[in-house]
Amino acid sequence: MSTANQASAAKSQRWPLTKGRSKRVLPGFGLSLGISLFFISLVLLLPLTGLVIEVSAMSLSEFWFVITDPRVVASYKVTALAALAASLFNGAFGLLLAWVLVRYEFPGKRLIDAVVDLPFALPTAVAGITLATLFAANGWYGQFLTKLGIEVAFTPVGIVVAMVFTSLPFVVRTVQPVLEELAPEDEEAAVSLGASDAHVFRRVIFPALWPALVTGVALSFTRSLGEFGAVIFIAGNMPYISEVTSLMIFIRLQEYDYAAASAIASVILLASLVLLFAITVWQARYLKRLEGR
């Protein structure tokens, strides 16, 4: 994909960017707007009204009481910390992986590149069962880790492992194209001037990468916040220790408390949406700045 982007980038250099000039020249505005709005309203927004109706039936103090229940608050902490750990790990490892895939040739590279997307393609429940099987005390990994005194399955670490798995592709796939399109001139110049690799990486390469990296980490974080299928099988689900917020929603549902479930769900939803919107705006700003340069 990124290679196609490169080609088009080359093209748009020859024909200067026409953005702004071509407001409504192209046909299909009405049709595509119609389809999009219809679909978004029916599939995305209409169901959300259900949530709004449930939540609005509660008074503010009820709502506050439900979402600040100590056990729920503990689950926010567990979820947020685990998601943070997972997305930071993915930030570091995803960067490394993207780097290796873009810069080096080695046997098995195609395989590694393909398998990065596995977490998107594999159902999360299957991932959960499989990870639990691997990391359980008698599993392939578990038996070694147990000897080292490390417990993964059924501890908060298990939650992190599941989140790392399900959100790994985000960072790799956002950083990879940027890294591919990075112009080599500055870097080569700096290296030939005798700057150390670390220095060049920090001063020349990293500044170009970090917007993509932040986006990837944020996407990975958002995804981890909502993860349920994979986490539930490996978490142990101990109150205050390894209960994630998705499980709290599930628990409220089991108690027939739809309002409370909706209230907690709305907290997560809002947090995720704000984060996603912030990324979109930030990206747009950043692109504008790049164009202006």
């Binding site: 020249v25 192209l26 169901p47 080096y104 596995l118 798995f165 290296v191 739809y258 995720s272 996603l276």
Partner: protein, 294 residues
């Protein structure tokens, strides 16, 4: 990928960061080790467990009446979901990359909702609305229409969960490509449909296919949302991922991993298809570049 090769020949002439063999092989080593441990081993486990009682058990499990039904239902749901999201994805991508209008950014954020909503909550949303006590479900019940706990409900939540994929693949690409070619088409007096078919479609073909492949993979594999609205009736509303859980609960671990291996097979196929798509894309680009130099 083609450009990688171009770059690496380039780096023969100019030294770049991280070219020293020690660092290079250290990084490659870490990448291979972690990827193998985190991604490849789980795949291996699934197939090992599925075949742990031999091929004939595997075949028996696969040909079980309920498993076959689950496969059929899953494919049926995917066959309905994918075209719907294809149309939506293309329309939305066209809208937000070819026109500027107020609310555009909000629209782009809105399609990310399914990424932000936990699948269980997604299922709940539909249940609250279309269930017997929901305001639409209540109204539909008067006409004896039931959407939840039957296949329409499964399709609906699957559409919800998978609707961002096509648009997400197309938007960055179409943004980068710009609309000059299409505008030229307009100037030459071509109809909208013709412009789309002869100019846009060839340009976005591979990204579109990848989006479809991803949508399909997710549609086939959705668990959380479907489990809320499906009603878990064996042989009627049991999709393949639900079937995995059901068998797992039946202590039929081998059977569960057999069905899981089907899903993993679809995942591997998805990855292979994606590899192929990228390879084709790279070839197109090389051809284009060759033409340009001529």
């Amino acid at each position: 990928m083609a450009s990688n090769r171009a770059r690496s020949t380039r780096s023969l002439q100019h030294r770049r960061v991280g070219d020293s063999p020690a660092i290079k092989w250290l990084l490659i080593g870490i990448a291979i080790a972690v990827t193998t441990g985190l991604l490849i081993m789980p795949l291996v486990v699934i197939f090992t467990e599925a075949l742990s009682s031999g091929w004939s058990t595997f075949a028996d499990n696969l040909l079980d009446q309920y498993t076959l039904h689950a496969i059929g239902l899953t494919l049926f749901v995917a066959a309905l979901t994918v075209p719907l999201n294809l149309v939506f994805g293309v329309a939305l991508a066209w809208l937000v990359t070819r026109f500027r209008f107020p609310g555009r950014k909000l629209l782009i954020t809105l399609i990310d909702i399914p990424f932000a909503v936990s699948p269980v909550v997604a299922g709940l949303l539909y249940l609250l609305l279309y269930g017997r006590n929901g305001w639409i479900g209540n109204w539909l019940a008067d006409y004896d229409i039931q959407l939840m706990f039957s296949w329409p409900g499964i399709v609906m939540v699957t559409v919800f969960v998978t609707c961002p994929f096509v648009a997400r693949e197309l938007i960055p690409l179409m943004q980068q490509q710009g609309s000059e070619e299409e505008e030229a088409g307009v100037v030459l007096g071509a109809s909208g449909w013709r412009i789309f078919r002869t100019i846009t479609l060839p340009n976005i073909k591979w990204a579109l296919i990848y989006g479809v492949v991803l949508t399909n993979a997710r549609a086939v594999g959705e668990f959380g949302a479907v489990s809320v609205v499906a009603g878990n009736i064996r042989g009627q509303t049991n999709t393949l991922p639900l079937h995995v859980e059901l068998l797992y609960q039946d202590y039929n671990v081998v059977g569960a991993f057999t069905s899981a291996s089907l899903l993993a097979g679809i995942a591997v196929f998805t990855l292979a298809a994606k590899g192929f798509v990228e390879w084709r894309q790279a070839r197109t680009v090389i051809r284009l570049q060759a033409q340009e130099t001529v």
